[in-house]
């Protein structure tokens, strides 16, 4: 798929994620906008998956360790055809399968229930370990938050992945520099990520998390390495919506009608630029 097509999918994910949060009057738009490009690449270029057979045994797995950014995840799954896009507007409603955080029991395409930070990466390790044990060729991808990395369990998992040589595991660290209480560097600085993961025995790649060429080469680096790979992605929280970009206020709050209209206009403008 060419970069223009991927950009359109990422834009579609952004629009649908913001729409879902707006409809729910609740949710996490900032981080969702920040990971849209990584999700678009994984779901439309990289992963070996079949939306018609979401529980296919040999599929590549994906774990959204930072589960609160599921509006973008759900939008990517819907775009890929796992379920109807109309469902996105039922996000966070009691009778919806699209719970506030990913629920593998009810949502087609969700490989692991997440939401409590620091836990998804461990489950991803278990999936990768299972493939090694059983001689399966599938790969496991995950997106981890920078703030999330303050959880000690993340480093327990980092140790475990290197110890068991989980070369089939590729983690994207969404390094947008912001968490609920403020800049990660001020709240509890988890950086530097590259040196930490390298010290833990990982293959490390540092990229711009909005650049498809760089995401692509990171995935190739992961496939060539005999270690687990950490892709440290410099990202912009709120990417694509002018007033949400790099603004921590949009970590976990929904836009009102007026703000929603502005957000959609911003995203339409990006759409026009892609087409131009």
């Amino acid at each position: 798929m060419d970069k223009k097509a991927l950009a359109k999918i990422a834009l579609d994910i952004r629009k649908n994620a913001v729409s879902a949060v707006h409809a729910a009057k609740s949710g996490h738009p900032g981080g969702s906008l920040g990971i849209a490009d990584i999700l678009a690449y994984l779901y439309f270029e990289e992963m070996n998956i079949d939306p018609k057979n979401p529980t296919w045994e040999d599929r590549d797995r994906f774990v959204l360790s930072k589960g609160h950014t599921c509006p973008a995840y759900y939008a990517a799954l819907a775009a890929k055809g796992y379920f109807d896009k109309e469902l996105l507007l039922t996000f966070r409603k009691p009778d919806s399968i699209l719970q506030g955080h990913p629920d593998m029991k009810h949502i087609p395409g969700v490989d692991m229930s997440t939401g409590s930070l620091g836990q998804g990466i461990s489950a991803a390790c278990g999936m990768a370990l299972s493939a090694k044990l059983r001689g399966k060729n599938y790969r496991v991808y995950s997106i981890l938050g920078d703030g999330e990395s303050e959880e000690g369990q993340v480093w327990e998992a980092a140790m475990c992945a290197a110890h068991y040589g989980l070369s089939n595991l590729c983690i994207f660290v969404d390094f947008n520099g912001l968490q609920i209480d403020g800049p990660v560097a001020e709240v509890m600085n988890p950086a530097p990520f590259d040196e930490k993961f390298r010290a833990f025995g990982w293959n490390v790649v540092v990229i711009d998390g909005h650049n498809f060429d760089e995401i692509s080469s990171a995935c190739e680096s992961a496939k060539k390495s005999d270690k687990p790979t950490a892709v440290i992605c410099k990202t912009v929280k709120g990417k694509g919506v002018s007033f949400m970009e790099n603004n921590v206020a949009w970590h976990g709050s929904a836009p009102n009608d007026e703000q929603f209209a502005t957000a959609m206009a911003d995203l339409e403008k990006i759409g026009a630029e892609i087409d131009a």
Binding site: M104, A123, M159
Partner: protein
């Protein structure tokens, strides 16, 4: 009764035995394989054993990931660190997605002995039974422990299995014993009072029933190996037919089997229930035998408490 064996020993032997029968069985531990006895499995199936180091939270998450691909992981540590430290991982990564993870927790209760209060978990049953869909099993002897392991393998869903460090009498017959998940076992019939026991209190309860019998009191003894789902039928029948209940367990009197029995009896057939277990306090160091005696895990004390339950009848 035949010889004594700790249920943790039976757990390790059962894992190694069933490892041959169930090829998708894998075992994880957190640097305690020699003590939890998962080392017995490791020796037999080294490729299917994964030490996760002293990192219980990650171990539970790894187990969840393994289970999501169709394997049946048993994740082991001491009850304190499995149910206690990793509670939230068990709740969110195993319970919520209802993954097929088995938690094999050893060294439960004060019979841990010399290690003292930091290692004596008297809260695990309370913690585990509040998780929706979690099965909680507390076997009473080696035969029951072995059978419980296979029952857990055959049950599709999360299970918490509780084992002890201390050698306890084996009273079930390996040849004839049948384990039915969720079914209590009436070990002895009686009309005046019922002693509901679980784990190492079961054989003490049987002795207490003998003492009561010598005083002309007819005591029923029920072994509850599955604390959740609780066999309400056998409990309510006992409430109706004997009119008084003593629950004896190696756990805090808050939140464990005693509480579970009270919940059932209060709502459906109110009769006096006396709870025996660890009171609202921490344990201490000492030999298991000495501690059990100090804290009242004796046939004499159980008999006395059973009489107290009878005295509370209206």
């Amino acid at each position: 009764m035949s010889e004594k064996l700790a249920t943790r020993e039976a757990y390790g032997l059962a894992l190694a035995e069933f490892g041959a029968k169930y090829s998708n069985l894998v075992v994880l531990d957190a640097d305690l394989a020699a003590a939890t006895k998962t080392g017995t499995f490791k020796k037999a199936f080294p490729d299917r054993f994964f030490d996760c180091g002293i990192a219980e939270g990650n171990m539970i998450g790894v187990a969840a990931g393994l289970a999501s691909t169709g394997l049946i992981p048993f994740a082991s540590s001491f009850a304190m660190f499995a149910a206690g430290r990793a509670f939230e991982q068990i709740r969110n990564s195993v319970g919520y997605p209802h993954l097929n993870v088995k938690i094999g927790a050893t060294h439960a209760g004060i019979s841990v002995g010399e290690d003292g209060a930091t290692h004596q978990c008297n809260e695990d049953i309370a913690l585990m039974r509040t998780i929706p869909g979690m099965v909680v099993i507390n076997p009473a002897d080696a035969v029951e422990a072995r059978a419980a392991v296979e029952a857990a393998i055959l049950h599709n869903g999360p299970c918490y299995l509780r084992f002890g460090r201390y050698a306890v009498p084996t009273f079930n017959d390996k040849e004839t014993y049948k384990f039915e998940l969720g079914k209590g076992v009436k070990l002895r019939d009686g009309a005046d009072v019922t002693i509901v026991a679980s784990g190492l209190t079961v054989s003490i309860a049987m002795e207490a029933a003998d003492l009561l019998s010598s005083k002309g009191i007819s005591a029923r003894v029920i072994n509850i190996h599955t604390i959740k789902p609780l066999d309400e039928e056998i409990i309510l029948e006992a409430a109706k037919e004997t009119g008084a209940i003593l629950v004896a367990e190696e756990h805090s009197i808050i939140g464990g089997l005693g509480s579970a029995v009270c919940e059932a009896v209060c709502e459906k057939c109110p009769v006096p229930v006396v709870r025996f277990g660890m009171n609202d306090e921490f344990g201490r160091s000492g030999s298991a035998a000495k501690l059990l005696e100090m804290y009242g895990f004796t046939a004499e004390n159980f008999a006395k408490l059973a009489e107290k339950a009878i005295s509370l009848k209206k």
